[in-house]
């Protein structure tokens, strides 16, 4: 993809209070990019899910938020990164209702539905990176 990425805001995620901070920061950035109110809630909710995933499974990580541009389109890009245990079977983890017991199992699959683009790269023992974007309408 040939999208340009502007400067990033990084939010460290280690405690459950950071989940709230990450989603509020994301909402503010999305609001400044001109997203509608409904989309702001969808974006904040998706960030909340991936941030909680970091706290629950990796312990710590960070969420980088940035504006994204693709031609005339403007959007928000969220990159959630951790150096946790990684996910052995990403396809399984993305399935609705799949959980190792700490959640409802709707977090990652739900976040994917809330955003326009969603990519997850995970290596066992190395960590997980989730990149997701939504475009303003």
């Amino acid at each position: 993809m040939t999208t340009d990425v502007a400067e990033q805001t990084k939010v460290p995620v280690a405690r459950d209070g950071d989940v709230v901070n990450a989603r509020q920061t994301g909402r503010e950035l999305a609001a400044s990019l001109g997203f509608r109110s409904t989309d702001l809630t969808l974006i904040a909710t998706a960030i909340s899910e991936v941030a909680r995933n970091i706290v629950l499974y990796a312990g710590r990580g960070e969420i980088a938020l940035s504006a994204a541009y693709d031609g005339s389109r403007r959007g928000i890009r969220v990159v959630a990164q951790d150096a946790g245990p990684g996910i052995a079977d990403v396809e399984l983890a993305m399935r609705d209702g799949y959980s190792t017991g700490k959640s409802l199992g709707l977090g990652l699959s739900g976040a994917r539905r809330l955003m326009d683009e969603f990519e997850i790269i995970s290596k066992v023992g190395i960590g997980t990176t989730i990149t997701m974007s939504k475009w303003a309408r």
């Binding site: 989940v19 989603r23 809630t41 909710t45 899910e49 959640s103 409802l104 977090g107 809330l114």
Partner: protein, 121 residues
């Protein structure tokens, strides 16, 4: 952060705040389970109109609160889910199952104090 739990007759009223963390939610659950017994409450009304996000954890905790208080003899009614939040919950596949909901605090209180047979069903 402790959210105040108000008592009106046999009903407990809680107003959730946007800045509540997961731990705050769990603390609220424990506190409510204790209070419904101590104050002999028959219903709990939880106002979530201040929440800008109800993700899978918040939804699961609300269900947990409702089921816990029901086992303690009190029905829970969730009120004030914002339209955007409702939309996001549907996309996430989140449901409140058999928990009563109402548009706002006023309707929720009416539902909570309605005759038992009809309440919250």
């Amino acid at each position: 952060m402790l959210v105040p739990i108000l008592k009106q007759g046999k009903v407990l009223i809680v107003s959730m705040q946007a800045s509540m963390s997961d731990l705050d939610l769990l603390q609220l659950r424990d506190e409510l389970a204790d209070r419904v017994g101590r104050l002999r409450s028959s219903a709990v009304v939880i106002d979530v109109s201040g929440l800008d996000v109800m993700d899978s954890f918040a939804t699961r905790t609300l269900r947990g609160i409702a089921h816990t208080t029901r086992l303690r003899g009190a029905e829970t009614v969730i009120v004030g889910i914002q339209p955007e939040v409702a939309f996001a919950m549907v996309q996430l596949g989140l449901t409140l199952d058999d928990i009563g909901t109402a548009l706002d605090l006023e309707e929720g209180l009416a539902l909570a104090t309605a005759p038992r047979a009809e309440a919250c069903r």
